[in-house]
Amino acid sequence: MTESRDILLRGGRLLDPSTALDGVGDLLVRDGKVEALGGTLAAPDGAQVIDCAGQVVAPGFIDVHCHLREPGREDVETILTGARAAAAGGFTAVCAMPNTDPVTDNQAAVGFVLKQGRAAGAARVYPIGAISIGQKGERLAEFGEMVHAGAVAVSDDGRPVVSAHLMRTALEYARTFGIPVADHCEEPTLAAAGDMNEGYVSARLGLKGIPAEAEEIMAIRDILLARRTGGHVHLCHMSTKGSVELIRWGKEHGIAVTAEACPHHLSLTEAEVEGYNTNAKMNPPLRSAADVEAMQQAVKDGTIDVIATDHAPHHSDDKQREFGDAPNGIVGLETALAVNVTWLVKSGIMSLGTLVERMSCAPARLFGLPGGTLRRGAVADITVFDPSLAWTVDPGAFLSKGRNTPYGGRLLHGRVGCTLVDGRVVHTRMG
């Protein structure tokens, strides 16, 4: 086994909410772990020294919700390209949703995703297994086998769990393995054939709307089932003011509900769809300004526990269609940090520390994953980034195969300098 080099991250702002650390100092990485940190450290012989002056050194970001498309749609993304895109976005780990083709609903499929992730040698890839066989919403998949093979959670994301009975059973059954059950909250009859948020914009554009209630009805259903079963329900990509109020109620009543929000729901409104822009089409859709504001506050006060990307690459041919025919989804791994810094931190809504908590510490804690901390002895999954660096988003330069982003051409603040996984640099823009 080859010895890896020591790495000294010199002079950065060490920001670790898990240990209430926020101050300029050095950090030494050895054998894939945080060896020492704080103050000025001497560089050991042969160590690689990375000058982090002016940058933030934080525990690596963890994305608990992304779509890597492999197996099945390797033309649109592979685990390799996705893991590299993640590393470029400062993510040291991602959780891959199981709505692949075939669906990741058994131990062999879980093993395949893990293997591909390891081979990629970039961000860690943790598989999420399906709740039901084929994600058909009928029979439970083998949670035990999948967890044993390496799955960290279960979800039928892409689709809602329509049957309340199945959701209840999944929550109860998941307790044995201590994993969260993540639900894509969408009441199918209300949302049917909808293309964007229901409101004045959808009425003007002649597009069928998805009312906020389609999400809220399933959110409260899941919260109540979590109460009944004692299971941990994780609500995916929340987007409405109403959902936030329901989650808050659930937490006040001690229910084990956690929730995630995506950067686009924290920054853009339904107005982005003007002109029938298919790069503004995703599910759940972009909502109203009031919803965005409520979501931002919820991320600040912790009602929303984590920020996840719901990275969903699509082929440009597929997105270059009439709006109604275009598939839902946008990429997000490589713009998440910048969008969050620009709209949440730079705007003064919350501190950088809170952002790191939502993007790193909380995901690790809630999904039981290594990382999310810089304490001594922790795994050296680290993100070095410059929160004030301005850059223009160029989709053509993405490492992801997907180019479908609404942020193309925008000037954003916040860029990753380098990303370390297991003590090795897996991405760098620094000399």
Binding site: Y200, L207, Y276, E322, F323
Partner: protein
């Protein structure tokens, strides 16, 4: 100086009152051409126009075809299956093919909202929206405006109520924009399950009963109710719709004034409108059809031949 309407006519929402008035003022004198023995002027001679209809529509297509032929344009009709999935060729490829054939103007009707704009963004030819999904049907809106203007003299302050399935109606949307811009007071009337939930944001009044609408309005624009709305669960039955919302002789007899009755066609006699009303003295439905050809001729005339650079050279009076 750029063309007064731009390259395309995609909808009325973003046109100014001045532009709409220009189209109506141009359509007026063009009506006379359809009264001549030789119903043809050479204005668009040599221009190639394609009628690209992804949704079946005899009446709109014929109206456009007459408008094009009366201006001496060369017309080609393309009728294809509904979605890009079933027909196998994407709208992007259709656009590229049209461009490669140097088509001057495209009239497109499509089942997807935004399809006309999608095409217009990808080809140099002028694009006229003949109806895109539930978004807009601008030439229908314009001919409705012309018909009302002919009868009333002006639309300023006139009360027009659109009755029926506004939720799914592109005709309703185009009418709301056009009428509002020309100063009319606009209302809608129908079951709430067939009105957009955000209807208040359009600045129109809402009547829950057709009796109220008839009491208030100077003109009714009665929309066709489609059978699919019943099967999709928006209303229980066509029978009940007629009994509650039908524009009938009995209801109109109680009107405080003579209302004009309009309908974009084709009519479901006995559902949204009774035959007595459709064929009665206050119906201007046939005027709408006549005006349709004139309005479409006006739109073709105003959009065609954008060559501003050459215009400068030709200036200097040509008598």
């Amino acid at each position: 100086m750029s063309a007064p309407l731009g390259k395309d006519l995609l909808g009325l929402e973003h046109l100014s009152a001045g532009q709409i008035t220009l189209i109506l003022d141009t359509a007026e004198p063009l009506r006379e051409i359809s009264e001549r023995a030789i119903k043809k002027v050479p204005t668009l001679r040599g221009a190639t126009v394609v009628n690209l209809f992804f949704e079946a529509s005899t009446r709109t297509r014929i109206s456009f075809e007459f408008a094009e032929k009366r201006l001496s344009a060369d017309t080609v009709n393309v009728a294809t299956a509904a979605s890009s999935v079933t027909k196998g060729e994407t709208l992007v490829d259709t656009a590229k093919n049209l461009e490669a054939m140097r088509i001057d103007m495209v009239v497109i009707r499509h089942g997807s909202s935004g399809a006309a704009r999608f095409l217009a963004e990808r080809i140099e030819s002028n694009v006229i929206n003949a109806g895109d999904g539930t978004h807009e049907h601008p030439t229908q809106g314009l001919l409705d405006l012309l018909t009302l203007r002919q009868r009333f003299g002006t639309l300023e302050g006139k009360r027009v109520c659109i009755v029926g399935d506004v939720l799914h109606s592109r005709v309703a949307r185009s009418n709301i924009w056009g009428l509002t811009k020309l100063g009319a007071e606009v209302a809608v009337c129908g079951p709430r399950s067939l009105l957009p939930s955000a209807i208040a944001d359009f600045g129109v009044q809402v009547f829950d009963r057709v009796e109220q609408a008839i009491e208030w309005a100077d003109a009714l624009n009665v929309l066709r109710l489609q059978l699919e709305r019943m099967t999709a669960g928006y209303i229980p039955s066509l029978r009940e719709y007629n009994r509650v919302f039908g524009v009938t002789r009995e209801r109109l007899d109680r009107a405080p004034r003579d209302l004009l009755i309009m309908h974009p066609g084709p009519m479901n006699r006995g559902v949204e409108i009774d035959s007595e009303v459709a064929d009665g003295p206050h119906s201007v439905i046939l005027d709408q059809v006549t005006n349709g050809v004139a309005v479409r001729m006006a739109v073709l005339y105003l959009l065609a031949g954008n060559a501003p650079a050459l215009a400068e050279a030709a200036k200097g009076g040509n008598r």
